[in-house]
C-alpha cells in the first residue's frame, strides 16, 4: 500500500513539476537570451518578470482555436497531443534521485529512444493535416531531419551501455560512481548532444519551425492551445534531453555534499542553459547542409566511437 502511494505520488508529482517547469522555461529562456544579447528579457510582470509565463499562458488560452476549413480535423487535433504524450512518457524512466523517479525499467534507455522516435509522428501528421503546402514541406523536412538524426542518437549511446553493462538507467548512474562517462565517452557526448538538439528542433536545427522559413513550417496553421502544446512539448523535449545527458554522461545525481536531487536539478539546468546558449549564438544551416552533416559526418563518427569503445573494452576485459 505504501509503495502504491509512493509510486502514485512520484508519477503525479513529476508530471506536474515537469509541466510547470516547461512553462517557466519559456520565461527563463527569454531572460537568458536577453542576458547574452546585452539586453533585459521580460522584467515588468512580477519580480524579475517571473509572472510573464502566466501572462503568456493566459494570452494563449484566450486565443481563437481555429482549424483550417479543409484540414483533417481528427489528425489536426491529435498531432500536438502526440508530442506532449511521448515526451512526458519518456520521463517515466529518468532517474532523478534515489527514490524519486516513476519506474526503473531494465530496458530504460531503449524506452527513451522509442518515445523520442514517436515524436516524429506528430510533426509529420501536423504538416500533412494542415492542408497547406508550406506546412507539408516543413513537416516533411522536419520528419526527414528527425529520423536521420535518430539513427546515430541510438548508436552514440551504445558506448555508454557497453561501459555500464546495462540498459537500465539507474544502473548506468550507479556505474558512474568512480568516473563520470563524459571523460571516456567524450565523442559519444558530442554526438548525443547534437542529435538531441536536432530531435527537439532547437536552433541551430530548427529549420522546420523557424519563423522566416516556410512561414513557420509545420505549425503554421496552429493557434491557441494547440500551438501552446507544440511549444510546451518542445520545452519538455529540451528538459528531457538535458536530463538524459546528465544521467548518461554527467553522473545523474552523483556528487559531493549537496543532496542528490539538488545535484540533478543543478546539472540539468546547466545543460538547459547550454541549449539556450546554442540558440543565442549559432546561425542556422541550410537544410541540405545539415542533412549531409548528419549522414556524412555524425553517423561515421558514431560508428567510430562504437568500434573504439568496443575495442578498448575487449582489450582490457577480454571475455573468459
Amino acid at each position: 500500500m505504501n509503495e502504491i502511494l509512493a509510486g502514485l505520488l512520484n508519477a503525479i508529482g513529476i508530471l506536474i513539476a515537469l509541466v510547470i517547469l516547461a512553462a517557466l522555461l519559456t520565461w527563463v529562456e527569454r531572460r537568458l537570451l536577453g542576458l547574452w544579447q546585452d539586453r533585459y528579457g521580460p522584467n515588468r510582470a512580477g519580480p524579475f518578470g517571473g509572472l510573464q509565463a502566466i501572462a503568456d499562458m493566459i494570452k494563449i488560452l484566450t486565443k481563437e482555436d481555429w482549424i483550417p476549413p479543409l484540414a483533417d480535423k481528427g489528425v489536426f487535433v491529435l498531432a500536438p497531443m502526440i508530442v506532449m504524450i511521448a515526451m512526458l512518457t519518456a520521463f517515466a524512466v529518468v532517474p532523478i534521485a534515489p527514490g524519486v523517479g516513476v519506474t526503473s525499467l531494465n530496458v530504460g534507455l531503449l524506452f527513451f529512444l522509442a518515445m523520442t522516435s514517436l515524436a516524429v509522428y506528430s510533426v509529420a501528421l501536423a504538416g500533412w493535416s494542415s492542408n497547406n503546402k508550406y506546412s507539408l514541406m516543413g513537416g516533411l523536412r522536419s520528419a526527414a531531419q528527425m529520423i536521420s538524426y535518430e539513427v546515430f542518437m541510438g548508436l552514440s549511446l551504445m558506448g555508454v551501455v557497453m561501459l555500464a553493462g546495462s540498459f537500465d538507467l539507474r544502473e548506468i548512474v550507479a556505474a558512474q560512481a568512480h568516473l563520470w562517462y563524459f571523460i571516456p565517452q567524450f565523442l559519444g557526448l558530442i554526438i548525443f548532444t547534437i542529435a538531441g538538439v536536432a530531435e527537439s528542433h532547437r536552433l541551430p536545427f530548427d529549420l522546420p519551425e523557424a519563423e522566416s522559413e516556410l512561414v513557420a513550417g509545420y505549425h503554421t496553421e496552429y493557434s491557441g492551445m494547440k500551438f501552446g502544446m507544440f511549444f510546451v512539448g518542445e520545452y519538455i523535449a529540451i528538459v528531457l534531453i538535458s536530463a538524459m545527458i546528465v544521467t548518461l554522461f554527467f553522473g545523474g545525481w552523483l556528487g559531493p555534499w549537496l543532496p542528490p536531487l539538488i545535484w540533478f536539478l543543478l546539472k540539468t539546468f546547466i545543460i538547459i542553459a547550454f541549449f539556450i546558449l546554442l540558440r543565442a549564438a549559432l546561425p542556422r544551416p541550410r537544410y541540405d547542409q545539415f542533412m549531409s552533416f548528419g549522414w556524412k559526418v555524425m553517423l561515421p563518427l558514431a560508428l567510430l566511437n562504437l568500434v573504439i569503445t568496443g575495442g578498448v573494452l575487449l582489450a582490457f576485459n577480454p571475455p573468459m
Binding site: 533585459y40 549564438a281 549559432l282 547542409q289 556524412k296
Partner: protein
Amino acid sequence: MESEIVSTFKGTHLLSQLKTLWTVFLHTFHRRETVQYPEQKPYLPPRYRGRIILSRDPDGNERCVACYLCAVACPVDCIALQKTEDETGRWYPEFFRINFSRCIFCGMCEEACPTYAIQLTPDYEMSEYDRQNLVYEKEDLLISGTGKYHDYSFYRIAGMAVGGKDKGEAENEAPPVDIRGLMP
C-alpha cells in the same frame, strides 16, 4: 581529392562555431544597453524636435506676429491661426491652433518664423486617449519664457510705429530724415 566526409566536416567550420559560443557566453559580463523607460529617460539633445511652443520676448509680450508663415510652411497643414491687432497697432494671433495628430515634428515652422516665436522643444510625452485632446490651442502652446532664444525681440528691431515706440526709435535705427527740411 578529399572524401565527402572530410569536405562536409570542414564545411561545418566547427572551430569557428565554438569560438562564437565562447564569445556570446562572454556577453554575460557585459553591461546591458537597455534604457529602462519610464524610470530612466534617454538623453535628448537641446535641438531635439519635440513638442511645439509659442514663446514670449524678454519684455514679456508674446513674440508671434500672426504673419501666417508657419501655416504656409507646414507640409501637413496642421497650423491654423487668425491675425488681429491690439490698440497700439501690434499684431498678434486671435487664436492659434496646432493639430498634433497631424504634426510631423519636422521643424519647418520654426525655420520659417521671423520672430523666433514658434519653437520645438525636447519633450515628447504627449499621449492622449482621445484625438480631440491632441488639438492644442494658444493657451496650451504659449509659455511664459523666451524658449531657446533668450535675447531676441522683434518689435524692438522692426521699423513700425507700435505702442511705446515711434518711428526712428528702434535699435540700430537712425531717426527719420525730414525731407522737406533739405529744401532750399
